[in-house]
Amino acid sequence: METLISILVGILVTVAVYLLLSRNLIRVILGTAVLSHAAHLLLITMGGLKKGSAPLLGEGAESYTDALPQALILTAIVISFAVTALLLVLAYRTYKKTATDDLQALRGFEDE
């Protein structure tokens, strides 16, 4: 299971890097979103998968999965959600102001 997820993380990172290196502003933002999802998956994999039952009261199981990585991921998701939302607003404003979403065209602007 861990191996499979690790490979998945690798694929996600590949996709994200491809998107990040593209010239389109929206693709870059999508790249950062995919990138943070890869990190979240890695975090939960590092805590160990399927080690026991869900860490909830009332499950009555013998062993529980480590709850800490899940808490970390929830926090990380909230943060990446906020950052992505902010990036979208920023990209939109940049597009409005410069009338282009091509990063190549955004180079070499001098201050007006």
Binding site: L56, G58, L74, A82, A85, L86, L88, V89, Y92, K96
Partner: protein, 140 residues
């Protein structure tokens, strides 16, 4: 081009309430089972976003005349406030308290200050999401 969205509008009238109820259900389920402020808040805000999509911004603003930035601030204040509340009672910062109460309709219920914290989180999420969506959509 104005598209005819009678079906969407009619469905939304019912669906929004289902979403809102589900959001509150998720919010209350938190603490000891899956759910909680963040998830509940996201679901709640999805209801508002649906309204924005179906109707235009002005109409929704007439119906829900809140400043969502302030809602986010109230939420953040509530969340930090529960932490400071503990300080006022001489406990360590962010200490949470809970007790069991016999409420008239619900029977014995567990009430805890975590609930207030989660309510703060939910309000913040709703406020922030709706603010962001309306900022992007405002000047299109």
């Amino acid at each position: 081009m104005k598209i005819n969205d009678v079906i969407l509008q009619t469905v939304t009238k019912i669906v929004v309430f289902i979403i809102l109820t589900f959001g509150i259900e998720l919010f209350l389920a938190g603490h000891n089972s899956p759910g909680g402020g963040f998830i509940g808040g996201l679901v709640l805000s999805s209801a508002f976003v649906l309204l924005y999509l179906v109707h235009d911004i002005e109409t929704v603003r007439k119906g829900i005349p809140f400043d969502f930035k302030k809602i986010a601030a109230i939420g953040a204040f509530l969340a930090v406030g529960t932490g400071i509340g503990a300080v006022l009672f001489g406990e360590e910062f962010l200490t949470q308290a809970f007790d069991y109460f016999d409420l008239p309709v619900f029977g014995e219920t567990e009430l805890s200050t975590v609930m207030l914290f989660e309510a703060g989180v939910a309000l913040t999420v709703v406020g922030v999401v709706v603010t962001i969506i309306s900022t992007i959509s405002e000047d299109v």
